[in-house]
Symmetry: C2
């Protein structure tokens, strides 16, 4: 609720990192709420790390002393809800008019399409930080703009498409970001 | 196919590590086969790492210089197969007569039970290295012995139970370890 304030008081790099954490934290808190309320079992996957060197100090636990962040090959979140396999990626967007598609890795789009082809539910959660708005971006809309990007150079989804075609997610206290309500609508629309 | 030979020629610690990798590698190869054959989308989750220190050398990518292995809060593998949410943990067993339950973290058993309660398919894959045999251990059998362990101190599942009640998984070339055949049997038994 207070990102716009935060945005003005911190420097740009920190701000981006903080806002990145905000959406992740909101979803993690929401997932914890869902697990405790016995509504869904959805977890964030660990960040993939390439480990190069590990030290084994005497009698204490192994210390990783050289490692690198790897590009994730799938998405950040997955789990089970009402028997459905749920799989999604969460993205912050700092732009006011467009959601640039360079935010998403090609293998993540491929992964989400594979998920849906096998009967799973795949989507993106996009935070528009400037408006403090959150949307579930269905995969078919992502695909439409993703495929256009290859042809005519358009590499983004306009804000208007989110307003018109995506499913809004309401921010709250508990759950923090009740995205399963949006998933219910997504499932209903698909049947 | 050649673990028993390997077992005799390497020292105990390396051997354990190697065999641990063998099952993981077999499952990873199998998952790759399943994805390429468009049969299922199942991935290993990254190992959870607690990052303590990160260096940012000039113009090169971030280097993690201090990090620790964390206890996983869920299982190693999950994904989607025929619309089902699939979730499992893979364990090597070096014992000849028993599968000790200390191999499994309590939160992993809890997690698998949550998964099944929400309509997912949860199980263990257990490798009996001495016999070079592989089994799908259904959750209800794990639960039975897990709950006994709390009461009367029994903390393992005998080999005979695997022979009699678990679903054997055949080792092969491609796929390396065709566990989806065992999952099909598990699903059929549950309906």
């Amino acid at each position: 609720m207070n990102f716009p304030t935060k945005k003005k008081t911190t420097n740009k790099i920190n701000n981006k990192a903080n806002l990145g954490m905000v959406l992740e934290d909101m979803i993690n808190q929401t997932n914890e709420f869902y697990i405790n309320a016995n509504l869904a079992i959805i977890h964030k996957k660990p960040t993939p790390i390439q480990i190069v060197k590990v030290d084994y100090p005497m009698r204490s636990k192994a210390v990783i002393t050289e490692a690198y962040y790897k590009t994730p090959s799938t998405t950040d979140y997955n789990g089970v809800y009402k028997g459905y396999y749920i799989d999604f990626e969460a993205k912050e967007n700092h732009n006011k008019t467009l959601f640039p598609l360079r935010n998403i890795h090609p293998h993540q789009v491929k992964h989400l399409n594979q998920i849906v082809a096998h009967g799973g539910i795949g989507f993106l959660i996009v935070a528009w930080n400037h408006y403090n708005e959150f949307y579930l971006l269905p995969l078919d809309i992502l695909n439409e703009f993703w495929n256009q990007a290859q042809d005519d150079g358009r590499k983004s989804i306009p804000y208007s498409i989110f307003k018109e075609k995506c499913i809004p997610i309401k921010e709250g206290y508990a759950p923090r970001l009740d995205y399963l309500k949006a998933v219910d609508i997504l499932i209903k629309n698909q049947i």
